[in-house]
């Protein structure tokens, strides 16, 4: 009995010894910081004079300040658009990559590239791509000029495929609508046909069109117009963020896919489930825990979006990009004005509460 007790005491001492560095760090740089943020949020504090207790004044002021409300709206819009979009994209990418094909690893590496690169590098590159005369507008211009060829090609592809499948079936051969062999030959036929149509002058090669000149960053416009809309610069950041984060979550899905029992698919195939039915009824439900995690991580991540706003800086109007995280920073260190740490801390507390609520809500709704 005594031995066990001393042993337990020893284990406790050892435990705290092992934990000590981390615990110190956690206490100073998390617990203390968090408590202090909450305390500051009830004070008027500007770094020059000691904090003065003001009760709820900061919170009341906060919800009357247009910039804060804008930041709140932007943050929520950002989280609600980016999280589902990147989750879906990650899932689809994982499905595509979950193949036993030669060179699949190279593709996985390539897809993951945006995720290893730092936010500042990505944002700098995208600021450049998003210029009024940048590559993105140029691609859209190309789309405007040559889009009709692509559309014609797709229509022809469908037509050729239909014709070929029907022909095969008439010959008594089993041919699915998405038969790959026929699909490939339809593709070649469609490309050839479009080329022939252009050569014959039926289709113009390029339609005359003005260059697309969407202002992606330096605008206060919103899209789509109406009650549910987001500032265009924020949408630009959303697209960029989906592009950078989806590959990270794709890896989680890929890991999850390894654990889906194969027998399920085989049984389903025996029962005659179509591939898309297998995805809907087996893969997706089996990956529910992963989806759950991806959504949680995604929500936490999107609600903290800061770097992109800071780096874009004066390339876009502040109210079109500001998020809660940036609002906190902007008030703590306002350019050329006296710090408003009370307001900043109140906004920080709102951000923390919001994060916890959203994550809790997601857990309740999905009930995993």
């Amino acid at each position: 009995m005594r031995i066990r007790r001393t042993q337990r005491a020893a284990e406790g001492v050892a435990g705290y010894l092992f934990l000590l560095p981390f615990l110190l760090w956690l206490l100073i740089f998390f617990a203390y910081a968090f408590v202090r943020s909450v305390y500051f949020s009830f004070t008027d504090y500007n770094l020059f004079q000691p904090p003065v207790w003001t009760g709820l004044a900061n919170y009341l002021a906060l919800f009357r300040e247009p910039l804060f409300l804008t930041a709140l709206r932007n943050s929520l819009a950002f989280a609600l658009v980016v999280t589902p979009a990147q989750t879906l994209l990650a899932f689809l990418l994982a499905l595509v990559l979950n193949q036993k094909l030669r060179g699949i690893l190279a593709f996985r590496s390539a897809y993951y590239m945006p995720s290893v690169t730092s936010s500042i590098v990505i944002t700098l590159i995208f600021i450049w791509l998003y210029q009024r005369q940048g590559a993105i507008n140029y691609l859209l211009t190309l789309g405007r000029a040559y889009g009709h060829l692509v559309l014609a090609g797709l229509a022809l592809l469908v037509l050729f495929q239909l014709a070929q499948v029907l022909l095969e079936r008439r010959r008594g051969l089993p041919a699915g609508w998405t038969d790959p062999v026929l699909g490939l030959s339809s593709l070649f036929l469609a490309v050839g046909a479009v080329a022939a149509l252009v050569a014959a002058g039926v289709l113009p090669l390029a339609r005359p069109a003005d260059p697309v000149s969407i202002i992606w960053l330096n605008t206060t416009d919103r899209f789509p117009q109406g009650p549910i809309s987001a500032p265009i610069p924020l949408i630009a950041i959303m697209l960029m963020n989906i592009w950078t984060t989806a590959p990270t979550f794709m890896l989680l899905y890929l890991a999850g896919l390894q654990d889906v029992p194969r027998e399920l698919y085989e049984a389903a195939a025996v029962d005659g489930a179509k591939p898309w039915q297998q995805v809907v009824h087996i893969t997706w439900p089996q990956l529910r825990p992963v989806t759950f995690l991806v959504l949680t991580l995604g929500l936490i991540g999107t609600l903290q979006m800061f770097d992109q706003v800071a780096i874009i800086g004066d390339q876009a109007p502040l109210q079109s990009t500001i998020t809660l995280a940036y609002y906190v920073y902007h008030n703590a260190f306002p350019p050329g004005a006296i710090p408003r740490l009370g307001m900043a801390s109140a906004a920080a507390v709102v951000l923390a509460v919001l994060t916890l609520c959203v994550v809790w809500l997601q857990r309740r709704v999905l009930r995993y």
Binding site: G12, V96, V116, L184, P275
Partner: protein, 492 residues
């Protein structure tokens, strides 16, 4: 739905088993589920093989298209970082910097100027021979171009304060001589040649050149393609004719290193930022490995009062954005952790690597990963060691750590990448002086320096250079990356 039916392809071909299912019964044709009824009619092996090839072809096409989406922007940035004007419209995919003819010319001109071909210069007594071609429209008289070596400073950044020597002070240009005439339907192409000689006594590192012709004559080509054309094509302008091969092709990269140095110490700032990022990332990896492994082990294996409270706090801390905490952390560092920093003589830990490292000596997610990992290990090994009389520290260093290699590897990579890419905290802590920035903060200062003048070349080059180490690291240690990501996910 094409994408969706793919993952089942390699697995769903359980042909053997299914052939038992009444092969003779006619089955309804099911679109999209080709494999399922492939056996209903005697499958021709050649037909199956063809199918497989076609399917693989389609999948590879799809995969390639997706790669273009994900790597395309990065590759395009890489390509454009070579251009003199990365914002040109329409954007071209074949900048003159990628044309071997220009490489040869840059090499030749660099050597003529007294350099070694790789890096050129314009040395005293050397002369450079240069040709330009113009199309003279029918009926117009061919007027020889005016050649001038302008007095020009390089770039809008630090280069703007260049003090000399200038090539304009030493260069002598011979009058352009007509070399040949080639009649064409739309006019005559006239080629002129001139020589530029360094008549001074000092070597100059760059030789800019302006060649102007009357309106109407159309520029056709030159020994080296010009950096820009101005005044509706009336002026062709070269930033540096005798650059040599490397500064010609990698002009913006050379600028990044050459233009960013501290004039007081002579230190190269961009190199300093790279070094800082490396140093901080390395130290942080080491401390994180040690402390996260220790804490993770304690939380996973040792029982002590308050363990759950600590773990709960850890989880909670992972959900709180760093912007919520930074005010207090900033103040704590400002005051030198309640004056403790005075022990080693620092009043404040702001703008100090020590401060940055102390505040990020370990990460909650690191501890979380290690804890998850240790919990997945069987307890038996440890127990055996305990029975043999090993203490906690011995068990930890002799038994646990060796087993933790995969997790430590993943943590190494994740921490390194995280520190290298970290933006917010260095921005708050390391604001001055310049040589104390990390690469991310340095790049932000680049945006201020070059972005003001929309000089995108050095900006893109800087971005590419700073992305390279992590990308290389990733390509080499891919598996650790993937494992690291899945650790976070295994039991979350």
């Amino acid at each position: 739905m094409k994408m969706a039916d793919m993952p089942t392809i390699p697995r769903g071909s359980a042909t053997g088993r299914r052939s038992k299912v009444s092969a003779d019964l006619p089955r309804p044709i099911r679109p999209g589920a080709g494999a399922a009824y492939a056996e209903t009619i005697q499958p021709d092996p050649r037909w199956i093989a063809r199918r497989r090839w076609a399917r693989a072809g389609i999948i590879y096409t799809l995969l390639l298209a997706c790669s273009l989406l994900f790597v395309g922007p990065l590759l395009f940035a890489l390509l454009s970082s070579l251009k003199d004007n990365p914002s040109e419209w329409p954007p071209r995919l074949d900048p003159p910097q990628l044309n071997p003819a220009n490489w040869a010319a840059a090499w030749q001109l660099g050597r003529q100027g007294g350099g070694n071909g790789w890096f050129g210069q314009f040395a005293p007594g050397r002369s450079v021979s240069f040709e330009v071609r113009y199309l003279v429209p029918p009926g117009a008289a061919a007027v020889p171009p005016q050649v001038q070596v302008p007095r020009r400073v390089p770039g809008a950044g630090a280069g703007a304060v260049r003090l000399g020597p200038f090539a304009a002070d030493v260069a002598e240009v011979s009058p352009p001589q007509e070399v040949s005439r080639q009649p064409l339907a739309r006019g005559t192409v006239v080629t002129y040649r001139f020589r530029i000689r360094n008549a001074g006594t000092v070597a100059v590192d760059r030789l800019p050149l302006d060649v102007s012709v009357p309106a109407g004559q159309v520029f056709q080509g030159a020994t080296l393609w010009p950096s820009r054309q101005e005044r509706q094509g009336r002026v062709q302008s070269w930033n540096n004719v005798t650059a040599g091969l490397i500064p010609y092709v990698f002009n913006n990269y050379v600028r990044v290193f050459r233009e960013n140095y501290s004039r007081s110490t002579g230190q190269n700032l961009f190199l300093a930022w790279i070094r800082n990022s490396f140093l901080l990332a390395t130290v942080r990896v080491l401390t994180t490995l040690v402390f996260a492994a220790m804490a993770g082990y304690a939380l996973a294996r040792l029982r002590f009062p308050g363990r759950n409270a600590v773990f709960f706090t850890l989880l909670f801390s992972m959900m709180i954005p760093s912007q919520v905490l930074f005010i207090s952390n900033y103040l704590v560092l400002r005051d030198g952790i309640w004056g403790l920093a005075q022990i080693w003589g620092q009043q404040t830990l702001l703008n100090s690597f020590t401060g940055y490292l102390l505040s990020s000596v370990v990460t909650a997610s690191g501890v979380f990963i290690m804890k998850q990992f240790f919990e997945s290990l069987p307890a038996s090994l440890e127990e055996a060691a305990r029975i043999d009389g090993a203490g906690y520290i011995q068990v930890f260093t002799r038994v646990i750590l060796p087993l933790a290699r995969p997790a430590l590897g993943a943590l190494t990579i994740l921490t390194f990448q995280g520190t290298w890419n970290e933006f917010f905290w260095p921005l708050v802590v390391l604001t001055a002086p310049q040589d104390r920035f990390t690469l991310t903060v340095g790049l932000l200062s680049f945006r201020r320096t070059y972005g003001v003048a929309f000089d995108w070349g050095p900006l893109l080059a800087g971005a590419i250079i700073s992305a390279l180490p992590v990308i290389i690291l990733y390509l080499v240690f891919q598996r650790y990356f993937v494992e690291g990501i899945s650790f976070t996910g295994t039991k979350g």
